[in-house]
Each structure stands twice: as C-alpha cells, then as structure tokens.
C-alpha cells in the first residue's frame, strides 16, 4: 500500500448525512480510502450503499444534509457531477442507462475528451481514440459491434456491466466506485470485471466496490472491507470479515 507522503487520503468522507424525500438514509458516515487501495462496502439491502455511491458521484436524488466528502482534499460535494468526473471520480452504475440515439463510441470519446479538455490535456482525435477503445474492448471482451449501437441500447445486463468497466478502463479514473457491479453477472463476466479493476490497480488510484454478496471478492481481493447498516459503517476489517458475513449473514450487523 502506498500513501501520499503527506498522508492525505484519496477519498475522505466524514459524518456524511443524506436524505431522500425527507427520509434520512445516510446517518453520519465515515470512510477513508487511500490511493493504491481496493475497498469493499457490503451490507444488506436498504443499508444506504447505493445512496452513498450516488451522493459521492453527484446524483441529485438524495439531498446532502450534513458532513463532508473530499477527493484529494477537494470538496466533492460542491462540484457538479461532470466536475467530479474531471476530478477523477467514476461511478459504475448498478443500472446503466440506455440512451438510444447517442452512439456508444461517440459518447465515450465525448466523455474522455471533455475530461481531458477540462484538465488542460490535448483531446484525442477519432483515430487515436479508436485505437485506445479497441485495446480496452479486448480487455473487457466486448464485441466491437456493440460500439456502433446507442449507449447500452438493447444490451443484456451483463453487457451493460462490461460497458461500465470499459468506460472505466478508457477514462482511467483516480477513484472508481462500482455499485453492485456484480449483480446479475455470470462467472465469465465477473472475471472480466475483476480484470478491469485489476488493470487499474496502481499506487495512485483506488477502487470502492459496493456489493451485497461476497462472491465478487473471490475475484477481487480487497484491502479493506466495510459493513454498512442503517446509513453508517458499522464494522471495518480485512478479508476475513467477508467470510464471516458469508457464514452468519447480515443479521448480526443490524443495529
């Protein structure tokens, strides 16, 4: 594990509170993720895992009512979603959205170039981008024919998840939050997701896996596991925590 010399975490969440339609879902959540780490957040349905992922990415479904979240020391909560992406945050969606009429490949290039431009980097032309996209498609075993369709248009559940990992691989975020990326996936697809996450393992990046099942963790070994219940993280530990959950279920963590 490598840390920044000054010890600043890549992601630091303190006392985060958020509500949906006036109902508090996150109730003072703390989480620290350092560069180079892979974390898993586990917990029963309704514990607030997806709300946490959405709030960090800037989804306006939940209103933040308290606390802070910083990425590399920058106040995440003050940024619109696109600027969080530019800052290096990536959310892998539990339910990727179908957008007919917007080409997959065009979307991905638009996204990459929007981020590069905002960071003052040179934009990729169509040819260079295609080279990059092809390389990453191989990594996630994505049929290139899918790239000519609309975004996620007519994709199966597994293909949508592969597309999320493809986007992550092309955008190379500092922090990837993958929300239930394993739901509905067969073993082959899980392997592909794991490969995508592994490809991005580096001393200056981090990944947060949000998952209900420990099955994913047979393919991706996290450095830290957190158990979430009722809007807070109630246990944190190493990989042994996942096995404990597997044996005992979530009942013992319920408040």
């Amino acid at each position: 594990m490598s840390r920044k010399p000054d010890g600043t975490p890549l992601l630091e969440v303190r006392g985060l509170r958020a509500a949906i339609d006036g109902k508090e879902i996150l109730k003072g959540l703390d989480l620290t993720v350092h560069a180079g780490e892979v974390h898993a957040i586990m917990g029963p349905n309704g514990s607030g895992k997806s709300t946490l992922a959405g709030v960090l990415a800037g989804r306006d479904r939940a209103q933040v009512t308290g606390g802070t979240a910083t990425l590399d020391g920058r106040d995440l909560l003050a940024l619109p979603p696109e600027e969080r992406a530019v800052a290096g945050l990536f959310l892998g969606f539990q339910y990727p959205v179908e957008i007919p009429g917007v080409g997959n490949l065009y979307f991905l290039r638009t996204a990459l170039n929007a981020q590069r431009k905002a960071r003052g980097e040179e934009e990729l032309d169509a040819v260079d981008f295609l080279g990059l996209a092809k390389e990453k498609m191989k990594l996630v075993e994505m049929d290139p024919a899918f790239m000519n369709r609309g975004v996620n248009e007519g994709f199966s559940g597994g293909e949508k998840k592969r597309n999320e990992v493809l986007q992550m691989a092309v955008l190379e975020p500092r922090l990837s939050i993958l929300d239930e990326i394993d739901s509905g996936l067969d073993i082959d697809a899980l392997r592909v997701v794991a490969r995508g996450v592994d490809a991005l393992r580096s001393p200056d990046r981090a990944t947060v896996l949000v998952t209900h099942y420990q099955r994913l963790l047979e393919y991706i070994v996290p450095d830290r596991i957190h158990v979430m219940a009722a809007g807070r993280i109630v246990h944190s530990g190493g990989r042994e925590l996942a096995l404990e959950l597997e044996q005992k279920g979530y009942a013992w963590v319920e408040p």
Binding site: E82, F93, V102, A114
Partner: protein, 440 residues
C-alpha cells in the same frame, strides 16, 4: 396597434386585381376561393380545428400584396435555403423565378416548371387536377390561396420516372412592409412514377410575412412519392401550409415535414387513400422556443379496403412555446382491412412550454387495425446524470439527448443531401451546435 380581424381579412384580399389574366378554370377557382374566404373569414379559436391556435398575432398585422419581381440574389438565397443539391425551382413572393432556378440534373421522366407556364402551355395536364384534390370550402387558408391562384410550381412525374429529387424553394420577402403570399404546388404522378419532391420555405427581410402555401398531389396507381417540407423562417414569420393528397391503387406516399422557425407555423396534411392497397407515411419534426406556436394537423381518410397509414410526429418545445398535434384517422364504411397507426412524442424542455396532442380515430367499418400512442415528457434525468457522471457538461449532455430524440426524424429523410442539411439545421439550434452530428 393591432387591427381587427375584419381589417386583417380585408387587407389579405387586397391586390387580387394585380393577378395576371388566367384561363377560365383558374379565374373561376379564384372567384370561388374569394367568395369562400369572404363567407368564412379567418378562423377563430371557437372553431374546433383552431381551438389551440389563435390567429390574433397574425391579425395584428396588415399584410399587403408582395412584389413578385423583388430582387433576390443567389448568395442570399443559398444562405437562407442552403445550396442546391440538384434541380431547384425558385418561387419568390408566389412567382416562379427562372433567373434563380436550375433544371440541371432533373431526374429522368420528371418535369418541373412554373405553374403559370403549365397552365398556359399545357392546360390539359393541369385543368383536371388543379383545385380538385383539395376542396377549399371550409378551409379559409386554402380558399385564400385559391383566391390568388396563378403561379407556383407544377411537377409532373411520368410513368417512367424512377426516383431522384426535385427541390422547390419558396421565398417570401418582407423588406419594406408586411406581405402575404399564396404559392401553389401541383404534383401529378402518373401510374408507376417515382420521385422525391422537396419544398423549402424561407423568408427574407425584417417585416413579418405570411406564407400561405397549398400543395395538391395526385398519385396514380402504384406511384411512389417522397414529399418533404422544410420550414425555416425567421421568428417574425407566419407560415401556413396545406398539403392535400389523393392516392390511387397501391400508391405509396411518404410526406415529412420539418418546422423549425416562424412565430406561428401550421401544417395541415390531408391524405385520402382512394385506391385499394395504398400506403401513406406521414411524419414530422417540430421545434419551437420563445413564444412561438407550431401546429400540426392531419386527416388521413381510408376510403377503400387494405390501406395502410403510419403517422409519427415528434416535437421539441422550449421557452413558453406551444405545440399542437391533431391527427385524425377516418376509416370509411367498406374500408376493411385498414391498418392505421399514429404516434406523437413530445419533449418539453421548459416548465412553460405546452403541447396539446389530440389523436382522433373515426372508424365506420369492422375488421380494422387502428391505434395511436404518444408521450409528453422531459429530458430523462437518469440519462442526463449518466452523461454528466462521465464528464460531459450539463449543456452538452442536454444537447446530446435532445438531438438523440430528434435524430429518428432526421434519419427518415431519404434524400441524402437533405438529410445532412436537416441534421445541421436541428443541431445548430442546440448548445454546442453541429459538433453533435458526429453522435451518429
């Protein structure tokens, strides 16, 4: 200060005396049109067909007759209407202009000329059709158009015509005062003839103009006609277009309208499937913002068995604009095995934008498949967030989604140069402009 409806009607009838002398069948159509308009006057919102479209803004202007000899230079024309992509007939203020037109590349078997010329030179080809497809009675704007019947375009698609496109450009100029013009198109397709006809309506000058166009089309047995109308006028313009079509046995019509500009734009498409096995495809895209009004009326009449009609219109409404869609499908007694479907989808981009959508099915026979559907919605918030979460700025993400909605209607266009032009015209109205066209 706005005038009264009566004053507006009087001023609209002015200038008839300046019309060129015409053969009796044209002169009598003029008299009948004038008499009909004098009886009906301009429609008001008390009439069912005009319930949602007030003509008060139109009646506020005294539209006078336009000068058909108005100088228009070719560059100015190309800027407004795009460069020609083939043979192009230009009609300025209702009169055919040879100086601006080119017949170069006319598709084989297709003949296109000034209507006035056709009336004088080949009256036999015109007389049985002109004013016969569209009954002006009860349609005040068609009646007003008939009162000024004289020129416009005549397109004859011979039996050997096998495709290719002719473009008709209608220019209305309001350089010195508000003017009204009433161009007419007569399209006759012989049995088996195939062609595409593109009508483009533009306006020049700073004064409000009223363009009141009528297109009559007659499709012989087995003819295949692709018909397009593009309305791209300044926000001060008023545009009324009536398209009336009668189809013979097995004839296939596709008529597609794109309404992009004007303060008030109304399209009426009236199709009669008069021969068995005829097929009609009606589609269109309308976009409005500000205080603009855009109205699409259609009536499809299945008069005989085994007709098919498909209707799909999409609207994009921003600001405090108003959209109207009224689609009537009439299946007459005896028109068994009719298959009719209608779809109207609307995207509202602001809280103040309004759309009224009214499907009307009138079915007088059994053994019919008829249906309609439609949506009125805002941009998909989940899709918007998805795009933004990948780093696409809010404005650009909105533009991508709006274009994605419109795209289907652009891609229906089968004349490649027109499809490209419409793609650019639609995209240029979105934040980020034409860069979005790569989204394909």
């Amino acid at each position: 200060m706005g005038g009264t409806l009566k004053a507006a009607e009087q001023s609209l009838l002015g200038g008839q005396e300046a019309l060129a002398p015409a053969p009796e069948f044209v002169a009598s159509a003029r008299r009948a049109g004038r008499a009909s308009f004098e009886r009906s006057g301009l429609p008001t919102t008390r009439e069912e067909d005009w319930r949602f479209t007030s003509l008060a803004p139109l009646a506020a202007h005294a539209f006078g007759p336009a000068d058909p000899a108005e100088p228009v230079d070719a560059d100015e024309l190309d800027r407004a209407a795009g460069r020609p992509f083939g043979p192009r007939l230009v009609v300025v203020n209702g009169r055919f202009r040879g100086d601006l037109s080119t017949a170069h590349g006319m598709p084989g078997g297709v003949h296109a000329a000034s209507l006035q010329h056709a009336v004088a030179a080949t009256p036999a080809r015109v007389e049985g059709r002109l004013g016969r497809v569209l009954a002006a009675e009860g349609r005040p704007f068609a009646a007003l158009n008939a009162a000024f019947l004289g020129d416009g375009a005549f397109v004859h698609v011979g039996p050997d015509a096998r495709g290719g496109a002719v473009e008709l450009v209608f220019v209305t100029t309001g350089r010195r005062a508000p003017v009204a013009v009433h161009p007419r198109v007569l399209l006759v397709a012989d049995p088996g003839g195939q062609a595409a006809v593109v009508e483009t309506y533009v306006a020049l000058g700073d004064h409000p103009v009223l363009t009141n166009a009528v297109t009559e089309a007659w499709l012989g047995d087995g003819a295949r006609i692709d018909h397009y109308q593009v309305q791209d006028q300044p926000g001060t313009a008023f545009h009324l277009a009536t398209v009336a079509v009668e189809q013979g046995k097995g004839a296939t019509l596709s008529t597609h309208s794109t309404a992009l500009g004007a303060a008030l734009s109304r399209s009426e498409v009236l199709v009669r499937l008069a021969g068995e096995g005829a097929e009609a495809h009606l589609s269109g895209l309308y976009m409005a913002d500000g205080q603009r009004v855009v109205d699409n009326h259609s009536v499809i009449e299945h008069a005989v068995p085994q007709g098919t009609s498909r209707e799909a219109f999409k609207g994009i409404l921003d600001g405090a604009s108003r959209g109207v869609f009224a689609g009537r499908i009439r299946v007459l007694e005896g028109a068994a095995k009719t298959d009719a479907h209608q779809l109207n989808s609307n995207l509202l981009l602001s809280r103040d934008a309004v759309v009224d959508t009214m499907p009307q099915l009138e079915i007088y026979t059994d053994d019919v498949k008829a249906g309609h559907g439609g949506t009125v919605g805002e941009l998909d918030r989940d899709a918007l967030f998805y795009l933004r979460s990948r780093g696409v700025a809010a404005d650009a993400a909105r533009a991508l989604l709006i274009y994605a909605f419109a795209r289907e209607m652009v891609e229906r266009v089968r004349v490649p140069a027109l499809r490209d032009r419409l793609g650019r015209l639609v995209a240029s109205r979105l934040p980020g402009g034409t860069a979005i066209l790569e989204a394909a």
